[in-house]
Symmetry: C2
Subunit: 347 residues, 2 copies
């Protein structure tokens, strides 16, 4: 195995949602008083029970029950647990010599950052360009459904793009961080195929972003390279234990899929009523394209409501409020910010 030369052009860490400590300082609002809609994380995540003391005390072991639980949940034969899909996003660019990489744009920015940092030739690809670009790149990175636009692709289309890339030794990387509500669109069950890499995470749907557990699905040789690069004990043992239980909890998963779909529709309606009709979204967020994004972001923050602001294009991503009081609070703040009326009907 060889890792390729990595030259990081950008020394800065990228901005992300979820920086509540920073927001609290910036706006002078105490931590507990914020409604954090900046992340796309399920606000009502899997309820974590007490973790066995041995999980804290002992080194993580690869041959616990996690991989079996993951294979069952994702319907995939091959799986490598990683410390959140972020760990795989950072590692994959080190496993290819410098090449041409197309990354869906707008899209989760860590992908382009990691490939560029590792010395690859990265181009941003608009959704309508993807089909033409496949022939011009060695690696194509898609976020599916896309974050923040919510764009989805047909499974046959994805498999066709993969086949084109694989013929030339290329890779299709599909980041399925927001796929759990629509498992029928996942490419995980098609793994392992050479050149197909699917990333999943327990951060969003399961609401376990703090645990840092994700999975890479790919063929055995690349999986082995990734494992060596990431090293032993990449995932904390309590996180492995919690992830195993969450992946096995089919009842919670079914209920939660329905709840998130309903919540997402409700959020789209609420935003629309305040003149912010979403341009896209999925079960865990809605995305609003507006020239006033920065102003709205700022004014909502003064209400203690943190959203995720994007510059290009100017847009806001709203995660789901968690309870009725949070829904009401968002409604009232939007009414002021957008100079519209709050909903007078109790929901």
């Amino acid at each position: 195995m060889s890792m390729h030369s990595c030259h990081a052009d950008n020394e800065a860490l990228l901005p992300h949602g979820g920086h509540l400590h920073a927001a609290a300082t910036c706006y002078g609002i105490t931590l507990a008083d914020w409604l954090d809609l900046s992340t796309g994380i399920n606000p009502d995540g899997w309820p974590v029970p007490a973790v066995p003391p041995s999980a804290w005390a002992r080194l993580p072991e690869d041959d616990d029950a996690l991989e079996t639980a993951a294979r069952d949940y994702y319907g995939a034969a091959c799986v490598l647990p990683v410390a959140g899909s972020q760990a795989a996003i950072q590692a994959l660019p080190c496993l290819r010599a410098p090449c041409r990489v197309g990354v869906l744009h707008p899209g989760y920015a860590e992908h382009a950052h990691a490939w560029r940092g590792a010395g690859h030739n990265v181009r941003r690809v608009q959704v309508e360009e993807v089909n033409d670009v496949v022939a011009q790149v060695d690696v194509l990175v898609l976020i599916h459904p896309n974050n923040p636009t919510g764009v989805c692709f047909a499974r046959d289309q994805l498999l066709d793009w993969h086949a084109q890339l694989a013929t030339r030794g290329g890779w299709l990387i599909v980041d399925e961080a927001f796929m759990d509500v629509t498992p029928q669109h996942s490419l995980a069950p098609f793994c392992p195929r050479p050149g197909l890499i699917v990333l999943r995470s327990l951060g969003k749907f399961f609401g376990l972003a703090g645990a840092r557990v994700g999975f890479a699905f790919t063929d055995a040789p690349l999986r082995a390279q990734l494992q060596v690069l990431l090293g032993p004990w990449a995932v904390a043992a309590p996180s492995r234990w919690v992830a195993t239980q969450a992946l096995q909890d089919r009842t919670w998963q079914e209920t939660t899929r329905q709840q998130l779909l309903a919540g997402s529709q409700r959020l789209a309606l609420l935003l629309t009523r305040h003149g912010l009709a979403p341009h896209g979204g999925c079960a865990l967020f809605q995305w609003v394209h507006t020239e006033q994004a920065a102003t709205h972001h700022e004014r909502l923050a003064r209400y203690g409501i943190l959203t995720r602001l994007f510059d290009q294009p100017a847009s806001l991503r709203f995660g789901l409020p968690g309870n009725e009081s949070d829904w009401r609070r968002l409604d009232i703040a939007l009414a002021d910010v957008c100079r519209t009326e709050p909903d007078r009907v109790a929901r």
Copy 2:
């Protein structure tokens, strides 16, 4: 910042202690029936209370209370939390162009593995050679106290070696994974100094090996490079929360230092009584150099007692038993394996 070309020669993960699932399968002894002395982890670690649900749900934030707690505990002005010192061990070799590296031998094997894997010229250094080798290398890696030999160095000696290396742009890396019982020997309070890198971990003394929390102490430029390389959210949020509480618990720390010192002396006496007088050790393990290491390892495993076997030199490392029944069990097994008498005095 630039990362340097990394070529991993060795595709395999190294063997380690703590592989209880594998041992259980190999010896046909169920998991719960093992006495695991293979790791050097405190068997009576910090008692983890219930973790706040928000720690599982939210992305880890760099600006929580962990860094302050670590600065206070380690007495060091500069700190970077990492996912166990292993994360820093893997990353540091990527932050230098190929160079000459001396690694203490015998010693924790991941250091040499990581530097060799990244294309550096690595030589093993016996403890009596270190002083001469300093002038011949760019990077010197010491484990202090050493694992598994328990060798210690005088602080002034270490600072002198660091000064020699730093003059030439070299690094002294001191892995202090087993230092917590003897904080007066730590170099952490001397950081930041250019070229001095101290690694600490919560795995051993605090008995939180599953949490994957460690720290790198070094100067600001290298800390920034490490942080970019390791990426955002490197340490799980529940692990950060638990580590913060453990680092602040001075009462537990004081009591535990005394208990571990007493336990380690007791273990040395027990081994000596069975003809296995240790050749070295520290508060968390004893190290026995014997040509019969492999046979003893195998026979103890048949008793469900897992030790850590080293090939070069042939030796065994024994961690501390956790309770009186475990001490008795080890005594009886050693009596059979070494053809000696078990202790007849109840302790």
